[in-house]
């Protein structure tokens, strides 16, 4: 069997990973259609992609990439240094529509040395640069095919785009001219099933072979018990947090935030909302990262203490606030539980269910919220705490200084130490309520092999997938 049907929850709006944030785009195209100079592996490591190798100047500002020879785009044109320059220039341009423009902000120039060599000069050294280039937003595209990239993506990957039935599915075919090893699959169909019930039904009825990020954790025991299926439980980069508006009264008082933190029973949330899947976290950092520090004890569940803290902050009878919940079930269900837990200590949180668009508009951009629950899925994103204008509005000069030091530090041990300090700082400032690391819950037919267990980035890497005969 050489074809597979993979279901995912959200349909990509279009197929250009370099001009939108939608993770669904990456899920379909990342490493399958488009490749970058470097790429993520399933365990989170960064390995060479279209760049065979690279050299970094001693001051850490000049990267010279050696490209693979004989790589062609699906339309037959060759991939060379010009394409790399085009791709990076396009991402950094004034009118760039790249959703992660910040990743490329440090690039000063991109120069073509010869058809297979590119030199990138940075404004200042950046320990994360190779990591950044592995993002889906940094894939290499060709000027010849850029015009229709959104509906007809042309990349260098092992699969070519075949068909898109909007609202239903996208089909990819094996690329016979692929530069690397030929994948086991001939065709792959991505089906979009947003409704958790439909997801369960489709899986049970064996309409689909794999469900990437299965949306209903409550159904996993049934799949576990069924020999027809396998369940893959891994971790994502998603720190699920009770985001708090640090500039809004009464959350501008650290005592109130601390009270909040002690009022939350993480385990109840993980059990109630995620049916036990998820790792409790005490700060904004992924537990699987070597630099992680377990700070959950810092905000242990203790409603009595929470009440006392509230009283100390001048709110002995609690207060009223809003709790904006975006659509995913971790937020909607988790929100119901949190609202109930907050009610125990006298805080009346009005639940406001919002669609993503509204969430972006009123919470993220407008900052009109008290509390919200969201999973921050970008990898290594503790840096957002250094941005005072970021929606939860944490403004700490100590933290900002810490980040600056971190950015210019290349020594790994020192970096680990600094990261630990950063984690502690936000945890003791109780910036947000830290709930759990979002689990990656995959369900697949028993014979499917090579699926990513974890999700360092949103990707469904088809090249490794095969059927167990």
């Amino acid at each position: 069997k050489s074809d597979i049907t993979i279901a995912m929850q959200l349909e990509p709006p279009h197929l250009d990973p370099t001009s939108a944030a939608a993770q669904a785009i990456d899920s379909v195209v990342y490493t399958n259609i488009f490749e970058g100079l470097t790429r993520f592996m399933g365990d989170g490591s960064v390995v060479p992609g279209l760049a065979e190798s690279w050299e970094i100047s001693d001051d850490g500002t000049i990267y010279t990439f050696k490209l693979r020879d004989g790589v062609t785009f699906h339309d037959g044109t060759t991939m060379d240094a010009e394409d790399v320059k085009f791709s990076l220039d396009r991402a950094t341009a004034e009118d760039s529509a790249n959703a992660q423009k910040a990743l490329f902000a440090g690039i000063e120039t991109v120069e073509v040395v010869d058809p297979l060599t590119v030199q990138v000069t940075l404004k200042e050294p950046n320990g994360n640069f190779l990591f950044n280039l592995a993002w889906g937003d940094a894939v290499i595209v060709a000027p010849e095919s850029i015009e229709n990239i959104k509906t007809n993506p042309v990349g260098t990957g092992a699969f070519t785009f075949a068909d898109w039935v909007q609202g239903d599915s996208i089909t990819l075919n094996r690329n016979p001219d692929y530069w690397g090893d030929q994948p086991a699959l001939e065709t792959a169909t991505f089906k979009f099933i947003s409704d958790p019930t439909a997801a369960f039904a489709a899986m049970m009825a064996e309409d689909v072979d794999v469900f990437d990020n299965f949306p209903a954790p409550e159904n996993l025991p049934q799949f576990e018990a069924d020999p027809r299926f396998q369940v893959l439980v891994g971790s994502t980069e998603g720190e699920t947090i009770l985001s708090t508006n640090n500039k809004q009264e009464p959350f501008d008082d650290v005592l109130v935030r601390q009270a909040l933190a002690h009022a939350i029973d993480r385990q109840a949330i993980i059990d109630g909302a995620m049916f036990g899947y998820g790792t409790p976290i005490g700060t904004h950092f992924a537990p699987h990262n070597p630099a992680y520090v377990d700070l959950t004890g810092n905000s242990a569940y203790d409603p009595e203490k929470a009440k006392a803290l509230l009283a100390e902050a001048g709110y002995p009878d609690g207060f009223e606030t809003t709790l904006h919940l975006p659509p995913p079930s971790y937020a909607r269900r988790g929100g119901e539980i949190i609202a109930a837990q907050l009610a125990e200590i006298g805080i009346k949180a009005e639940i406001i269910n919002v669609e993503w668009a509204q969430w972006l508009e009123s919470v993220f951009k407008g900052k009109e919220f008290g509390l919200t629950i969201v999973s921050h899925t970008e990898p290594m994103d503790i840096g957002i705490y250094a941005r005072p204008e970021y929606y939860f509005q944490y403004d700490s000069t100590d933290f900002q200084a810490l980040m600056e030091t971190l950015n210019s530090t290349t020594d790994p041990d020192e970096r680990t130490r600094l990261l630990g300090e950063a984690q502690r700082l936000i945890a003791t400032d109780y910036v947000n309520g830290y709930l759990f690391q979002l689990a990656k819950l995959g369900v697949a037919k028993a014979g499917v092999q090579g699926l990513w267990e974890n999700a360092p980035t949103a990707a469904i890497d088809l090249t490794a997938i095969s059927w167990d005969e």
């Binding site: 939108a20 939608a22 609202g167 993503w356 972006l360």
Partner: protein
């Protein structure tokens, strides 16, 4: 007749014009910016502005309204903000699911309702009538999404006779396509059939009480002959109204059912588009649905004339 049709046509156009203003106005006050939705949480201000310009969101609302209406008049529904494909193309694709589904459901509901309604009317007050009426009462009371859930549970998950959802596509053959629309069509059809059967029955009962039915019996027609030859056609008039209403309902009202069966139909398109703030798609689909309803009503009116000669000669 012609004048009647023309007059209706004029009020039809006026209605559409008013509808377009209402739709545009309602949707434009919706909060949420499509551009920021597309670019996500880390987008920067200049990137956003660039995208807004590209989407044509930077001109005045009035200008946008006229661009939209003007485009629709020549068949150009604009380009979807999120999918970046022509809206007309998306609508056409979705119609290939929604329209057959609506017709399928309507056919089923008619096939169930007519015999049931006629049977009940012919047996008024007898156990058969009571049974049919009881069943229709139940049919009306059952929320169709709940019914759909139960259908999936029984026929897709347990019995595995049908797919749990999704649409196989017409290119895989007519029967395959029809097969994948069967459960949704049943879920949609049964409550509608219940309503239709009741309307059919009461319309027939009204007709049965008419003098001309007695005349027919006096000619020597049996009860059954009189019912079929004189009753059914006259009863069609109220029934047609309901069928017209149901068709428009099925076209748009299947949102939830399409959700349950994850069918790529029009209903789900609007639902997704509303969540994604794809205003132009929402506007265009709602406009199309309003157009469909108004057209269907118009056609039903013309169909009346076909059924009822009294309306044909009325100017």
């Amino acid at each position: 007749m012609l004048r009647y049709a023309l007059k209706r046509l004029l009020s039809l156009i006026l209605s559409l014009a008013v509808a377009s203003v209402v739709i545009f106005a309602v949707i434009e006050i919706a909060p949420g910016d499509p551009a920021s939705f597309m670019l996500g949480v880390n987008a920067q201000a200049d990137t956003l502005a660039a995208l807004r310009a590209e989407l044509g969101l930077d001109v005045s609302k009035v200008e946008r309204y006229f661009n939209w209406v003007g485009g629709m008049l020549v068949g150009d529904f604009g380009t979807s903000y999120t999918y970046r494909t022509p809206v007309s193309q998306m609508i056409t694709d979705r119609l290939w699911v929604s329209l057959p589904l609506a017709l399928y459901a309507l056919t089923l509901s008619t096939l169930i309702a007519f015999p049931a309604g006629i049977y009940a009317a012919a047996r008024r007050g007898k156990p058969g009538d009571l049974a049919v009426m009881g069943a229709t009462q139940l049919g009306i009371a059952v929320p169709n999404f709940w019914f759909a859930m139960m259908l999936v549970l029984i026929f897709a998950i347990n019995l595995r006779w049908f797919n749990a959802g999704g649409f196989a596509g017409w290119e895989n053959g007519f029967w395959t396509g029809l097969h994948s629309l069967t459960l949704p069509a049943i879920a949609l059809a049964l409550p509608q059939a219940a309503i239709l059967a009741r309307v059919m029955r009461s319309a027939l009962l009204d007709i049965l009480a008419e003098d001309f039915m007695r005349t027919a019996r006096a000619k020597g027609l049996s009860r059954r002959q009189a019912l079929w030859r004189h009753g059914v056609r006259n009863a069609l008039i109220p029934v047609l109204t309901i069928i017209g209403l149901q068709f428009s309902f099925l076209l748009a009202g299947s949102i939830i059912i399409e959700q349950v069966f994850y069918l790529p139909g029009l209903g789900r398109l609007v639902f997704q588009a509303i969540s994604a703030r794809d205003l132009i798609v929402v506007e265009s689909v709602v406009m199309l649905l309003v157009f469909a309803v108004i057209m269907v009503n118009f056609l039903v009116d013309l169909a009346y004339a076909a059924v009822d000669p009294r309306l044909r000669s009325r100017t």
